[in-house]
């Protein structure tokens, strides 16, 4: 399936745990309903099979159709159009905490939407102990710089951004060159 992309696309898109899929499905045609409405959803899942499963999970909640009486018409992976420019992604999330459901709006800076969603899942896991199955992504959008809300995003929306790296990270150029003992203490001072 990926043969049609140029050679470096996979590297440019990045490797993500959760991929974005467009799943299109409908109720099976019946005598009463020969042309059922076709529904399309964009879901995040680790692979196509899980994407289809997620599709039915949501569609069952929204419409009177389930996997047993429906059919998937197509599943396509969605890739980033311009993976070499940085965008501010706003994500609207509904998540389940230990005490109930809550809505959230979160912002992430990344080059691809998949990268931002990756950040979302990891951050929700760390800050709210919320796992993949408890998170529903309601909506995602590329937010223009003027409309960003979060302080963490706003601080990087500076055309003359400039900051020092406060400490020098000492590490061997590869893990094979790692040694247990060193002759000298490292100096992490950057000045």
């Amino acid at each position: 399936p990926r043969a049609s992309f140029p050679a470096n696309t996979k590297m440019v898109q990045g490797s993500f745990k959760w991929h974005q899929y467009q799943v299109v499905g409908r109720h099976l045609p019946t005598d009463k309903m020969p042309n059922p409405t076709v529904y399309r959803m964009k879901v995040w899942a680790e692979d196509r099979v899980k994407a289809e499963s997620k599709f039915w999970y949501f569609l069952k909640k929204l419409r009177r159709v389930k996997k047993a009486n429906g059919q998937i018409l197509s599943v396509n992976e969605i890739f980033e159009k311009r993976p070499t420019t940085i965008k501010n992604f706003g994500v609207w999330v509904r998540y389940q905490s230990r005490t109930g459901y809550h809505n959230m709006y979160r912002e992430y800076r990344d080059t691809t939407l998949n990268g931002a969603i990756d950040q979302l899942y990891h951050e929700m896991g760390s800050r709210h102990r919320c796992r993949f199955s408890c998170i529903q992504i309601i909506k995602t959008a590329t937010v223009p710089a003027s409309a960003c809300k979060r302080a963490n995003t706003l601080q990087f929306l500076d055309s003359k951004i400039r900051f020092p790296l406060a400490f020098k990270l000492i590490r061997p150029a590869s893990r094979t060159l790692k040694t247990t003992f060193k002759a000298n203490r490292p100096t992490t001072a950057m000045f």
């Binding site: 420019t85 951004i161 400039r162």
Partner: protein, 141 residues
């Protein structure tokens, strides 16, 4: 309190800063910071590669900087780099020369190592010869 706080940092992460990749597949590559994603990552670019995200952990920033706009196109970047002759400036710096020396040494063949030893021995011999002559002359006095 009108104290002017002077930061001791000399090299800043900014758009156009030249950096050396010190870890990973692109190890040893000189890249230019094209844009900054967040506190830990930057979009880096170089004339012969696709623009990609690199973590600051994998970059060592240099003294050199190129005057480019944010997310400069490849054409603009290559032109500005050539105009400022940045890669050559880095190669002429002591850091660049050290890297070149290290690379030359690691690329030496056994014959090159023999030639180096032979030259060292020849030089040491001639120095010692003159030294011994001077020592004998001084001892005679």
């Amino acid at each position: 309190l009108d104290q002017v706080v002077k930061m001791p940092f000399k090299r800043y992460v900014e758009i156009g800063r030249l950096a050396l990749v010190n870890y990973g597949e692109d190890y040893g590559k000189l890249v230019v910071i094209s844009d900054i994603v967040d506190q830990t990552r930057a979009l880096v670019d170089a004339p012969d590669m696709t623009r990609k995200i690199e973590s600051f952990r994998r970059l060592t920033i240099t003294d050199l900087k190129v005057d480019i706009p944010r997310l400069a196109s490849k054409k603009v970047l290559t032109a500005k780099l050539a105009e400022a002759d940045t890669f050559n400036k880095f190669a002429k710096s002591s850091w660049g020369r050290k890297l070149a020396r290290q690379e030359a040494k690691s690329n030496m063949s056994d014959f090159d190592r023999f030639k180096a030893t032979a030259a060292k021995v020849k030089k040491a011999r001639s120095v010692r010869k003159v030294f011994n002559q001077l020592k004998k002359a001084a001892a005679k006095k």
